[in-house]
């Protein structure tokens, strides 16, 4: 099962002939992802990593049934590429690109909502349903099938946690990177809803950060709607308030989004909170569900 993507998901790669596009297409193919087409304007008819290349998503979608797309497109052109993918009918779009202007992101989200498309990212490492389909840039070796579903705002931090889990013998069902920007497509609640429904997921890990209010909103939601155990780790306990911490989401605004506020909300919702990232496997073990 897994959520959002699985072994049937057919993927088109936008920007497949670029350096990043090529490299990660190769990695995704190695992982087993069904990449059916690539897009690169002006390079239609070529092949990249054994995948046929088209001039547009429309052209690719005419020749192949495609379910999802992934963007390896520079920030200045990402909005156009995303709108094209949505207009051409893709229902899931993973936007790896970072540094996309906020107003562009907002326009992408508005168009996606109108057309019923799901956007993962931008500024995400992607999404992987372990052993089935990887759409993103995460290292292949850590993502082995198992009962743990993960949803995270931050990329490398997720690898850290997945690495620790892997070391402790726990595999993952689906790992979703929401993306580090202020405006992203999926939020915690969207993903939690899916995990709750997914028979392959027995425990959910939420990897948050200081700043914003999405962890607090997730806590509210968990209290009412999630029956599966949830473990959370929130980064930024010792980050100085108000300083710029790499991405906008990490700016603490107007006293909201503090570490303590998030922890309190999560604990009140019955979530198991890890103080440090490598505590997560122990907490899962103590749940005594496996």
């Amino acid at each position: 099962m897994a959520i959002f993507i699985n072994s049937d998901t057919r993927v088109v790669v936008q920007g497949i002939t670029g350096k990043q596009g090529r490299f990660h297409t190769q990695q995704m193919l190695k992982y087993g992802t069904k990449i059916v087409a690539g897009v690169s304007p002006g390079k239609g008819g070529q092949e990249a990593e054994g995948v046929p290349v088209y001039d547009s998503v429309f052209a690719a979608a005419k020749e192949h049934q495609v379910d999802a797309g992934v963007l390896f497109i520079p920030a200045a052109f990402a909005k156009d590429a995303a709108l094209e993918a949505i207009d051409a009918g893709l229902k899931l779009l993973v936007c790896i690109t970072e540094h996309i202007p906020l107003h562009d992101a907002a326009e992408i989200m508005a168009f996606a909502k109108k057309r019923g498309a799901t956007i993962v990212g931008p500024n995400t490492f992607g999404i992987v349903s372990s052993g089935q389909c990887k759409i993103g840039i995460m290292p292949n070796q850590f993502f082995t099938p198992g009962p743990v579903g993960i949803v995270a705002r931050s990329g490398t931090l997720s690898y850290e946690i997945v690495g620790n889990l892997s070391h402790a013998g726990f595999g993952t069902s689906t790992v979703v990177g929401m993306g580090g920007d202020r405006i992203v497509g999926l939020n915690f609640i969207d993903v939690l809803t899916q995990f709750e429904q997914d028979p392959d997921t027995k425990v959910i890990i939420l990897v948050g950060e200081i700043g914003g209010s999405s962890e607090e909103e997730a806590a509210e939601y968990i209290k009412e709607n999630i029956s599966k155990p949830v473990v959370a780790y929130i980064a930024g306990q010792s980050a100085p308030p108000g300083k710029r911490m790499g991405h906008a989401g990490a700016i603490i605004e107007r006293g909201k989004g503090t570490y303590q506020g998030k922890i309190d909300a999560l604990k009140a919702a019955g979530v198991h909170v890890a103080a440090l990232p490598y505590e997560v496997p122990n907490i899962i073990r103590e749940l005594n569900i496996f």
Partner: protein, 371 residues
């Protein structure tokens, strides 16, 4: 990028939003002629921070000598930790009412939201939620006449002031959109002499969109080290501890700070080398850390796009060029891990696999507890 008040007001004027008459000055003497021209004036410290008034950064004068004295007492002085290099002198308005108005890009809405209140002014942050009007704006529909009417109604504006508001608001939104603003804020938006006037201007431009806003003034908030890091594509914030930290990704960098703190260490900085930093960038980052004279350096890499062998190569390169006389702890996992670890081993350097272990070691080294 935050804009100074006077820059924001320049933009307001470009977009047809009424502002008080005024002039920005850089030396106290200039205050004289401006005051002579404007009469009663308000003298406003130009710093990139709120709460200027409470910090004594806003003064009044009705003659040149007082204005010069006031400017003198501001220029070059520190307010809320920031040095004032400019002062804005403006006509003093006969304020009847202070409103609050802002448009902000809101994450949970995935688009713009309009905020407004009848209770604008210095204490807007203390105004209860119930008195703040919040209206999401559909980015595809923008600000239509009905939205102007609705906000005006909720602000209890009537007659001519309502008309002025309905004319001004679409202009403010146009500025917000065309100039890639993260936020535009007018606090207070005042009613004075039957006119609606933007008495303050707080504008933040989306950093990611600066490339397509070439005619905006440049404002630099970063200190020298932060600028250097930014120039090579890294995100760096200076802190007050003694353990220099470098990791790849904002989340893991924060987590690294947390772990160091947990073991009693004190981070000297936040350095996110980001996804996919190459040998050159990594080496430059390392040199930056060395230049801050820390007691220890902790390099914590979980390679995704970042390749462990590149990090190892960068370290070895710097190490061979200058003598690194502080202890460096390297944790290296992920993409090309084996190659990276091997490169370091060949030079007799141990790479850690676990963050916990590596962090504990770093703290101990910084405290001089181990060699």
């Amino acid at each position: 990028m935050k804009l100074f008040e006077y820059m924001g007001k320049d933009l307001f004027r470009q977009y047809g939003i009424p502002t008080p008459k005024g002039k920005v000055i850089r030396t106290a003497g200039e205050a004289g002629p401006v005051t002579e021209e404007l009469g009663n004036v308000v003298i406003k410290t130009q710093i990139l921070s709120g709460k200027r008034g409470k910090a004594g950064g806003i003064k009044f004068a009705d003659q040149s000598s007082d204005a010069i004295e006031a400017a003198n007492s501001i220029l070059g002085k520190e307010f809320n930790g920031l040095v004032a290099e400019e002062v804005l002198i403006e006509e003093k308005l006969p304020i009847e009412k202070e409103l609050y108005l802002a448009i902000v890009m809101e994450g949970s809405l995935r688009g713009p939201i309009l905020l407004a209140s009848q209770y604008g002014g210095m204490d807007i942050e203390e105004v209860p939620e119930a008195n703040i009007i919040k209206m999401p704006i559909d980015i595809h529909v923008g600000i239509q006449p009905y939205l102007c009417r609705e906000i005006a109604r909720k602000l209890e504006l009537t007659g001519d002031i309502q008309q002025q508001f309905s004319k001004m608001l679409p202009n403010l939104y146009r500025l917000f959109k065309e100039r890639d603003c993260e936020m535009v804020e007018i606090n207070p938006l005042v009613i004075a002499d039957g006119k609606l006037v933007a008495a303050d201007a707080k504008i933040t431009i989306d950093d990611e969109a600066l490339y397509r806003q070439p005619d905006l003034p440049k404002v630099e908030e970063r200190n020298e080290a932060e600028q250097k890091a930014h120039a090579i594509g890294l995100s760096f914030v200076q802190l007050d501890g003694d353990i220099a930290i470098m990791a790849n990704g904002a989340g893991i960098t924060m987590a690294t700070l947390d772990v160091i703190n947990h073991y009693g260490g004190s981070p000297a900085n936040f350095l996110d080398a980001g996804g996919g930093a190459n040998v050159e960038q990594t080496a430059a980052a390392l040199e930056l850390l060395l230049s801050t004279n820390p007691k220890a350096i902790f390099i914590n890499i979980f390679g995704g796009i970042t390749r462990c062998d590149d990090v190892a190569r960068a370290f070895l390169q710097v190490n061979s060029q200058k003598s690194i006389d502080v202890p460096v702890v390297i944790r290296l996992v992920g993409t090309n891990q084996e190659a990276g670890v091997k490169l370091l081993q060949e030079q007799g350097i141990v790479a850690y696999e676990h963050m916990q272990e590596a962090a504990m070691k770093t703290v101990a080294l910084a405290k001089g507890m181990v060699e």
